[in-house]
């Protein structure tokens, strides 16, 4: 099963949100769409789901054109950011709703609901009202409702963003496990690059209505196609300096991750501030009063200290685009 998006375009008024997205998504992929807030990630999911009509373009699933099908005929499961649970129903009825709409027999509905409830560990709350359970439980119910009915593929719109950091960490692992278990395609939207890196088989970075780069998480980290992607991906943005600092053509910029440097000798930088991140310390510095760089360090430095660093590995960018 493959999903093909062909030249998807969508505007609201004269605000172009999606500007010709063409992409193929493979069977069984955990495909993450990553982008900052307001870039049109939710809009793209809504177009795929059939809630919004694209102005132009096609959605083809398994060779079948779905562009003009209403959402109820597409058999796509979706989990919304706010979970969209039906507040007038119990947990059980929420999960059973898609099966009832398919006119399934009562016993079969019960069997299936029980099976997903067990998979997600929510057997004990099936009788409760969905407004009377915790955020983490609501998220599981929403996922259970998506899983229960054997959809063609899954759309998830920032399903973890309403959870506290700890629960989110657990839920992330669980999502990955579930995706492996059902073996179906997940299209997952997030603005959290870390989440994207840990979940995705492939990431598509959405910027200005287009997929600026699509690739494996490590490729995005190692070879960001544009300066913008380089600064968006990673715990810290990639550093950039004009080429002449390391004897390259001054018309190119060299981009390097903080870990690709070594303190000691070389280019001079003034420390502006420090931050502890995990095990390491990071220095926020300025080179020649103009260029900001972030450097990892093993020791504390004071503000105003001068440090020297060498670039061990770098990529070349011309006009903001990777050139190699």
């Amino acid at each position: 099963m493959t999903i093909q998006l062909i030249d998807i375009t969508k505007s609201y008024g004269n605000h172009v949100v999606l500007n010709g997205i063409t992409q193929e998504i493979e069977d069984g992929e955990f495909f993450v769409i990553l982008g900052p807030s307001g870039e049109g990630k939710s809009t793209l999911l809504k177009v795929i789901a059939g809630i919004e009509r694209p102005d132009k373009g096609k959605i083809i699933v398994n060779g079948k054109d779905m562009t003009n099908l209403p959402p109820e005929k597409r058999n796509i499961a979706m989990v919304f950011q706010n979970y969209a649970l039906y507040p007038n129903m119990s947990v059980y009825d929420n999960i059973a709703f898609p099966l009832k709409m398919r006119k399934m027999k009562k016993e079969e509905i019960k069997e299936r609901v029980m099976r997903v409830a067990k998979l997600l560990g929510i057997q004990d709350i099936l009788d409760k009202n969905v407004l009377k359970i915790s955020g983490g439980q609501q998220q599981r119910v929403a996922i259970a409702r998506a899983l229960v009915r054997d959809p063609v593929f899954f759309l998830l719109d920032e399903p973890l963003s309403n959870l506290d950091a700890r629960t989110r960490f657990v839920a992330r692992g669980e999502l990955k496990r579930i995706q492996k278990e059902v073996g179906k395609t997940f299209i997952y939207v997030t603005h959290d690059q870390k989440e994207a890196m840990s979940l995705a088989t492939r990431i598509a970075v959405l910027h200005k209505g287009k997929f600026e780069q699509v690739g494996k998480p490590l490729d995005l980290y190692e070879y960001p196609k544009t300066k913008w992607v380089a600064q968006f991906i990673g715990d810290f943005p990639m550093n950039f300096l004009p080429g002449n600092y390391i004897g390259e053509d001054p018309n190119v910029e060299v981009g390097f991750r903080p870990e690709w440097t070594e303190l000691g000798s070389g280019i001079k930088a003034v420390v502006d501030s420090m931050e502890a991140f995990g095990e390491s310390l990071y220095l926020f510095c300025t080179v020649d009063e103009k260029f900001k760089v972030i450097l990892p360090s093993k020791e504390w430095h004071d503000v105003g200290d001068v440090v020297k660093f060498e670039i061990k590995k770098y990529r070349k960018y011309k006009d903001g685009v990777l050139s190699e």
Partner: protein, 270 residues
């Protein structure tokens, strides 16, 4: 208890007396011997000689059952019509952009300010031709003219409080537009629907202008009470008024939780 609370309580008491006093007089006239009330120059404010004979005379001498049933039928029809038309209208408005929905809602409510008397006469003329004059459906249609904008306004507010994602979710779960409405949106909007029904019902229950012009021959209860008073039959009027008030009190008590302000805020909360 601090001074602020005491002042609030005093305010509430004055307010309640202001509204309950007429009702008290009604009960007094109904259960006191007429010589202490309508026949006395300086009527007493206390129950002097309790009696049931006023009511017995009033209710046996005249037929109140038929006007009561006519009122009941009309009010119920008005309530049903108002929500049957108000649900699609309110849902539609709630899904339009605010810039379009707001002027439409405003226009609806302005039409509502038209004096009933000035539209009742042309309606009567049309109804005579359409054989709707002096009929319950005819009167109900005319009264719905006033209640429908209110019901639409309440329901617009109710539906716009439901997140769009819930409707999308229902569609993705395999529900058609109609199933999503019936299984999800309407149950979620139930409090607003009840409020809209009640407001319409109660409006029709004591509506007078349309009733007296469009259904004068076999009148509804408020008009019947008015006829009694003009005929000089105060005791019958009082008995009827009492009967008339009971359903309102019962309904209000039963459904008061739906009549809290939040459901009536309508399209205001955005």
């Amino acid at each position: 208890m601090n001074t602020r609370q005491i002042l609030i309580y005093i305010g509430v008491i004055i307010f309640s007396i202001y509204f309950l006093f007429p009702l008290y007089i009604l009960i007094l006239v109904a259960f006191n011997s007429p010589k202490y009330t309508i026949f006395s120059l300086y009527p007493s404010l206390l129950l002097q000689a309790p009696t049931l004979s006023n009511l017995i005379i009033g209710l046996t001498q005249y037929n109140f059952v038929e006007p009561f049933l006519r009122s009941l039928g009309t009010a119920t029809l008005v309530g049903v019509l108002s929500i049957a038309l108000g649900i699609p209208a309110g849902l539609g408005l709630s899904r339009l952009s605010y810039k379009i929905a707001y002027p439409i809602t405003l226009l609806l409510l302005i039409t509502n300010m038209m004096p009933s008397i000035s539209i009742a006469v042309p309606i009567a003329a049309e109804f005579i031709r359409a054989h709707l004059f002096n009929t319950i459906p005819g009167l109900a249609l005319a009264q719905t003219l006033i209640t429908l904008p209110l019901a639409t306004f309440i329901l617009e507010g109710t539906f716009s409080a439901i997140p769009l994602e819930i409707e999308y979710q229902a569609r993705l779960d395999g529900a058609s537009v109609f199933q999503a409405l019936w299984r999800i949106l309407i149950p979620m909007a139930a409090p607003g629907i009840v409020a809209a029904f009640l407001i319409s019902w109660m409006f029709s229950w004591d509506e007078f202008t349309f009733a007296v012009i469009l259904m004068p021959i076999t009148p509804t209860l408020p008009v019947e009470i008015y006829y009694n008073i003009t005929r000089g039959d105060m005791l019958a009027a009082v008995a009827f008024s009492l009967i008339f008030t009971i359903p309102v009190v019962v309904i209000t008590l039963l459904l008061q939780k739906y009549l809290r302000g939040e459901y009536l805020a309508g399209g205001i909360k955005r």
